[in-house]
């Protein structure tokens, strides 16, 4: 295996192991996201048709906000000695970005898949014909959010206000991802094609990948 992929997969494996043991992301972010899904209907008239219409927007909002927290978590908990260690080990900064993205993408996809039955249960939206068609959009959405979270986390590492600042930086740039994913769902619900929205997601992911690769080296200096 090449040095690059050995390092990238090493970082991804470490991130997933840490998450699996600490359980903060899935143990805290997921329940709070589920709570948000539960609370919204309490703030409405409770009409079934209103809730059915709200199902998708609430789902995308929760996956955006809480998914971002999940993606940011790894850089939030990394200490200065840990970051310095990786720099001195000669970890390729692009491999680090790729590894981080891989692990965060898997966690985000997991979060999204777990929240779907909750939304169906509490909001009872219209059933979607051929729901498997939405899977590519969910994957691209997860990957895009993962890259955005990694970038935002690296831009704000070590700053006192990073908890508020990182989502502030990431959320506006996440809008093409939210649009692509949500419009894909609408198109699938209506039996329409999803090519345009898939292309938007692919283009956004590509742009974020380029940004991540190009900024990986300059951002490495912020870590030390």
């Amino acid at each position: 295996m090449s040095r690059f992929w050995r390092q990238a997969l090493g970082v991804a494996k470490r991130d997933l192991l840490v998450e699996g043991r600490a359980g903060e992301g899935i143990g805290i972010v997921l329940p709070v996201g589920a709570l948000a899904i539960f609370v919204v209907p309490l703030a409405t008239s409770g009409s079934a048709s209103l809730l059915a219409d709200l199902a998708a927007p609430v789902y995308w909002l929760v996956t955006l906000l809480f998914g971002m927290q999940l993606a940011l978590r790894q850089t939030a908990t990394e200490t200065v000695p840990q970051r310095r260690l990786l720099v001195l080990l000669g970890l390729d900064p692009v491999a680090r970005f790729v590894g981080r993205t891989l692990s965060a993408s898997l966690l985000l996809l997991g979060l999204q898949l777990v929240l779907i039955p909750l939304v169906i249960l509490f909001y009872e939206p219209e059933p979607v014909p051929a729901p498997v068609r939405i899977l590519p959009a969910l994957v691209l959405y997860s990957v895009g959010l993962a890259m955005l979270g990694t970038l935002a986390g690296d831009l704000t590492v070590g700053l006192r206000t990073r908890t508020a600042l990182a989502p502030m930086l990431a959320a506006p740039l996440a809008v093409p991802l939210v649009m692509g994913a949500s419009q894909s769902l609408i198109s699938v619900s209506q039996g329409d094609g999803i090519l345009t929205w898939t292309l938007l997601l692919v283009a956004t992911d590509l742009a974020l990948a380029v940004a991540g690769v190009v900024t990986a080296r300059p951002l490495e200096e912020t870590a030390t």
Binding site: L151, L159, R160, T161, L165, A171, P176, A207, E221, T222
Partner: protein, 234 residues
């Protein structure tokens, strides 16, 4: 001399722009409300220019690490945020009588311009949150290069999505505008360009003065640590 001449020129140019806008003919459909567009469109273009300058200066800093590039990048971003705010505000004022609404969620250009506004607010917030000068320059340079992608997205949003906003009126191969209106628009673009330059020069000078007034301590950090004054054990 620049610091006196530019503001005066900007003032004169804005007055000229206002006069030309007021004397241009009303639009067949929009009536006199078309005059708001001369300010709206001019501010939008200058916002794009300002953020483009931010991106270019950010690249300059990343390559050379010279503080001057950072001052230009940050100053231009601040001015760009101001122009974007004016764009959004004048767009809403114009939209109410023409579209019947201050804001239409189906319009991609409005939404993408608002997003661009938030992205650069985030840029300014990142700068405020980073106390160390070099770290501030590095982080905001990186964000300045990433964020400029918003500019073509906003500009081409009317082409990519069918929206209320009118399509590209001025294209490289054709201009779909009456000559008097085009003149009014171009004069206002010129006027706001001079304003941009005047604001940029003033803001960069202010940034340089702010850095010069930072108190540079002469005594090293460790000189403040002295031996404790406590009794020792028996």
């Amino acid at each position: 001399m620049t610091k006196r001449i530019l503001p005066v020129l900007a003032g004169l140019a804005l007055v000229a722009g206002l006069l030309v806008a007021l004397s241009s003919p009303p639009d067949v459909l929009q009536g006199d409300f078309v005059r708001i567009l001369y300010i709206h469109v001019a501010n939008a273009w200058l916002a794009f220019l300002a953020f483009g300058v931010t991106a270019a200066a950010s690249i300059g800093w990343l390559v050379t690490r010279r503080a001057g590039y950072d001052r230009v990048a940050a100053s231009s971003a601040e001015i760009g945020v101001l122009f974007t705010a004016v764009t959004l505000f004048t767009g809403m004022i114009w939209g109410k009588p023409i579209w019947g609404t201050f804001w239409d969620w189906g319009d991609a250009r409005m939404a993408s311009t608002a997003l661009m506004f938030f992205v650069y607010l985030g840029y300014l917030a990142l700068r405020r949150a980073t106390p160390d000068r070099v770290a501030r320059a590095r982080r905001s340079a990186i964000l300045g290069v990433i964020a400029v992608v918003q500019v073509p997205l906003v500009y081409f949003s009317v082409v990519l999505w069918r929206t209320l906003h009118q399509g590209l009126t001025i294209r490289p191969d054709s201009v779909q505008m009456e000559p008097e209106m085009l003149t009014a628009l171009l004069v206002n673009v010129g006027a706001f360009s001079v304003l941009y330059l005047a604001l940029l020069v003033a803001r960069v000078r202010l940034a340089r003065l702010e850095e010069a007034t930072e108190v540079h301590e002469e005594a090293p950090a460790g000189s403040a640590v002295t031996a404790p004054r406590l009794e020792t054990g028996p």
